[in-house]
């Protein structure tokens, strides 16, 4: 078994990197040997980099699928609102808008989802208009997003593309949007260990009351080092899990999922999508999509059918992962509640009362 991420202490590190511009570079990447990152996959996707944002290129399917991810997230938030159960952690910058959720996008690639989500973060200013609540917030209610990917090439592609949109570029500059070139394991390590000053409480479903004495949310309290939950309200994992190697003792989708869950704040969502290992998916993804030109749309070797994940497996891993994370004290009240349907694709385990909902991706976006 790979060493489990141990959650040693509450840290308050997250505010710091977010308030500065691009603190991370490629240094910390790929060095860790217990990484979930497959070297083959890394090489393959880095070679796709130049065509990542080409609307007619091999990533066209991902581009067309992307709006559906927003719909899916909006659906999840409508089903269970993280805000109503537990007050959210303060956002890194005092947000005048009503978007409060902090996002982590794991395996962001060239940034197709991350950039689109960043676009839904309202711009700074406009704080004068204090018209209220729900009408003013966007569907995904994103206040910030951190996107990670182990490939330095792809992160560069993502950053370069983000610069082509002044609104997104502004988010990059003021820190609410951040690309980090690191693996999930690296992120966990930096998130949970870098703080030496450990604070008291362990995570629990009831939000740990902030030790800061002043209850008033004055703007200055944002800049002070108030210990906050460094974990995220929403962790997204789109089209990633099918690229995780399953090598006994080294890396498995199960441990990877468990790591993802450890980044979810209690009451938050882990939202993802993947491809099921079914006959249609073999036909479509292996035979048709990777066929030679002019039929095929993606290069050979993009997918490995054997790595595809079925809903039952996924559900098992999530339950297992939640139990283990709970053992680590990260998530209490992990009442595993089964709700699996036979289906492919989209699943939404929720930390703290997990429910895995699987939806058939009858995907018929305009090709």
């Amino acid at each position: 078994m790979p060493p489990r991420p141990t959650l040693r202490s509450l840290s308050h590190t997250l505010k710091k990197p977010l308030s500065h511009t691009r603190p991370h570079s490629t240094s910390s990447s790929t060095s860790s040997n217990n990484s979930s990152v497959s070297a083959d996959e890394l090489t393959h996707f880095s070679s796709l980099a130049s065509s990542w944002w080409d609307p007619q290129g091999p990533s066209r399917a991902l581009h067309l699928m992307n709006p559906l991810r927003h719909d899916f997230i909006a659906g999840c938030l409508a089903e269970f609102d993280p805000i109503t159960t537990t007050p959210s952690t303060p956002t890194p910058s005092a947000s005048p808008h009503n978007n409060t959720l902090r996002y982590l996008d794991i395996g962001c690639g060239g940034g197709i989802f991350a950039e689109s989500l960043a676009r839904t973060i309202p711009g700074p200013g406009k704080s004068t208009r204090t018209t209220t609540a729900i009408t003013n917030r966007t569907r995904t209610r994103a206040a910030s997003i951190t996107a990670i990917d182990p490939s330095p090439t792809l992160i560069k592609i993502a950053r370069d593309h983000a610069r082509m949109d002044p609104a997104v570029n502004a988010h990059l500059e003021n820190g609410v949007f951040e690309y980090r070139n690191c693996s999930l394991e690296d992120l966990i390590a930096t998130t949970f260990t870098s703080s030496s000053a450990s604070s008291s409480s362990s995570f629990s479903s009831t939000p740990s009351p902030s030790p800061s004495p002043s209850p008033s949310p004055s703007p200055t309290s944002q800049t002070q080092s108030t210990p906050t939950d460094p974990r995220y309200d929403i962790v997204t994992l789109f089209e990633v899990i099918e690229h995780i190697d399953n090598i006994r003792g080294l890396s498995s989708p199960q441990t990877f999922l468990q790591n993802c869950l450890s980044m979810v704040r209690p009451g938050g969502w882990l939202i993802g999508s993947t491809i099921a290992r079914t006959f249609p998916s073999w036909l479509v993804n292996q035979v048709i999509a990777e066929a030679p030109w002019p039929i095929g749309v993606v290069p050979r070797g993009t997918h490995e059918w054997a790595k595809f994940v079925n809903p039952g497996e996924l559900e098992g891993w999530v339950h297992e992962g939640l139990v283990r994370v709970e053992e680590d004290g990260a998530v209490s009240r992990a009442n595993a509640e089964t709700g699996a349907e036979a289906g492919a694709g989209r699943w939404t385990p929720r930390a703290g009362g997990v429910r895995a909902s699987c939806i058939f991706p009858v995907w018929a976006g305009g090709w």
């Binding site: 007619q56 709006p67 927003h70 676009r119 839904t120 610069r163």
Partner: protein
């Protein structure tokens, strides 16, 4: 799974063409390009060039939808929009630029809240349309009676509205939305459109259109330097010679019909049998194959009507040169006399002096009417023509090869110009605008870049085939009804018309298609 055939039918993506098209030089400049790259341009989400019904409709739709009302939008228009906003005319006078709005255009205008600002006393719905062939006499009538119970009012086929009235309503609607994030550059021309530049530390605007705009010569009291604005999405609503289309390097297919449309505002005699139910109004269109196109009389309030007569350039010049009396005689004749009679009357000598008493065209009409059997359902006699309202415009067919390019979308006449015989031109523009506004709203809600090709291809995919179909249908009708004489073509088209008129299913289908 979606059928693979749709891939082949997709009109807007031919990957190889697309790739070939993207890196072309994008530049439009009517003057020398200004090299004032010193200050960064002001950035807008949507910049619309052209303040006609399409451009204003888009702006009003964006302002009306909650998702898009916070977008930073700009409109650039050469004309004085303040003048258009304060337009007013006596209730017995009508502008000669009148459009028929289909029910779907009307419901779009209602949806965006512009209809409330329209002076509906100046708009005239009509419930019935009579169309007949001047050569063979075969006839078709359109109304919604087959779908209406006897106790309901007939649904209008379309509503006649002056373009000025519509523009004023849209401007009022936009003004009512407040001026947050809204810039209207009236009396302003686009002097150049270029791609932006990459600033070393800031955003990279090298794929963004940047417009240099300056006040028109008429309005330039002070010669201020041109303003530069960058557009996330540049919308070309700038008409048939669209500068935006030239910037995007999109070509058009099409031809000139070598015909002119004559318009005029006319007043009518009272209709002899009072229409039942009261207030039912009828539009009339008679195809005149030997004269180059149809003549149409479309109702306006207070017993007025607007004329659209598509005919050859020579006939148009002749008609425009006639005295009002003779012009009226020709209009009445065109709905009543045979092709041979009309051709004769269009070659009559014009009297050197206009005499009040006797007009040769009037006399000729009166004499010839005595010898021509008259069909039922004739339009009321035209009795007066509003002074200065007779005008003409060339008829053309144009269709842009693409409606979109990265950060550019074309709407209305910039994308397509069609024959006016079905009164669909403005309605296609409204359909474009409704679709584009919908697309932008979807994009905003899903974190898409509104100028991205992936966003815009939704719009193009929605509209291209529809517009091609309607434009093509009008073109076919024009050609079919330009074959003179009683040959096989005339026989076949008359048979077709009779069949359509008698088979409710086909007619209903046709009307639903025309309705949009």
């Amino acid at each position: 799974m979606r059928p693979l055939s749709r891939t082949a039918l997709r009109p807007y993506v031919c990957p190889s063409c697309q790739l070939g098209r993207l890196p072309v030089r994008r530049r439009f400049a009517s003057h020398s390009p200004s090299s004032s790259n010193s200050s960064p341009p002001e950035i807008y989400d949507v910049v619309c060039v052209g303040g006609g019904p399409a451009g204003l409709g888009l702006l009003a739709a964006l302002r009306a939808s909650p998702a898009t009302s916070k977008l930073k939008v700009a409109l650039v228009e050469t004309q004085d929009l303040a003048k258009a906003r304060s337009w007013s005319l006596d209730s017995q006078q009508f502008s000669n630029r009148v459009s028929s709005l289909t029910p779907s255009s009307v419901s779009f205008l209602k949806k965006i809240g512009a209809w409330d600002y329209l002076d509906t006393a100046r708009a005239q719905p009509y419930q019935e349309m009579q169309v007949w062939d001047g050569e063979t006499g075969s006839r078709i009538s359109f109304d919604w009676s087959m779908e209406t119970s006897p106790f309901e009012d007939l649904r209008p086929v379309a509503t006649m509205t002056e373009n000025t009235n519509l523009v004023r309503a849209l401007l009022s609607r936009i003004a009512a939305s407040g001026d947050d994030n809204l810039s209207i550059f009236s009396n302003t021309t686009v002097s150049s459109i270029t791609n932006g530049t990459e600033s070393p530390n800031g955003p990279d605007l090298s794929a963004w259109p940047v417009l240099s705009i300056s006040p028109t010569a008429a309005a330039a009291a002070s010669s201020q330097p041109p303003t530069r604005i960058a557009a996330r999405l540049l919308v070309g609503a700038d008409g048939i010679n669209s500068p935006v289309r030239r910037f995007a390097d999109i070509s058009t297919d099409g031809w000139d019909y070598n015909r002119h449309g004559i318009v005029a505002t006319l007043s009518l005699a009272d209709l002899d049998p009072v229409p039942f139910p009261l207030g039912t109004r009828t539009a009339y269109q008679r195809f005149l194959p030997s004269l180059g196109g149809p003549i149409a009389l479309l109702p306006l309030p207070n017993n007025h009507a607007t004329l659209v007569w598509s005919t050859t350039v020579e006939n148009a010049a002749y008609l425009k040169s006639l005295s009002p009396k003779a012009f009226l005689a020709m209009v009445n004749a065109a709905f009543r006399l045979s092709m041979t009679d009309l051709q004769y009357m269009l070659r009559m000598d014009r009297p050197a002096t206009v005499s009040d008493a006797e007009d040769p065209h009037e006399n000729e009409l009166a004499w010839r009417l005595e010898h021509t059997p008259q069909p039922p359902h004739l339009p009321p006699t035209v009795t007066g023509v509003q002074e200065g309202s007779v005008a003409s415009f060339p008829l053309r067919f144009r269709h842009a090869t693409s409606y979109v390019s990265p950060r550019v979308a074309l709407v209305g006449d910039a994308a397509h110009v069609i024959h006016p015989l079905a009164g669909q031109g403005l309605n296609l523009g409204m359909g474009d605008v409704a679709s584009l506004a919908e697309t932008i709203s979807y994009a905003v809600n899903h974190g898409m870049d509104v100028g991205d090709l992936l966003t815009l291809e939704r719009y193009a995919g929605d509209r291209y085939a529809t517009n091609a179909k309607i434009g093509g249908a009008c073109d076919v009708l024009h050609k079919l009804y330009n074959v003179p004489g009683n040959g096989p073509v005339a026989w076949a088209r008359s048979l077709g018309l009779e069949v359509i008129d008698r088979v409710p299913f086909v007619k209903g289908l046709l009307m639903k298609n025309a309705e949009g």
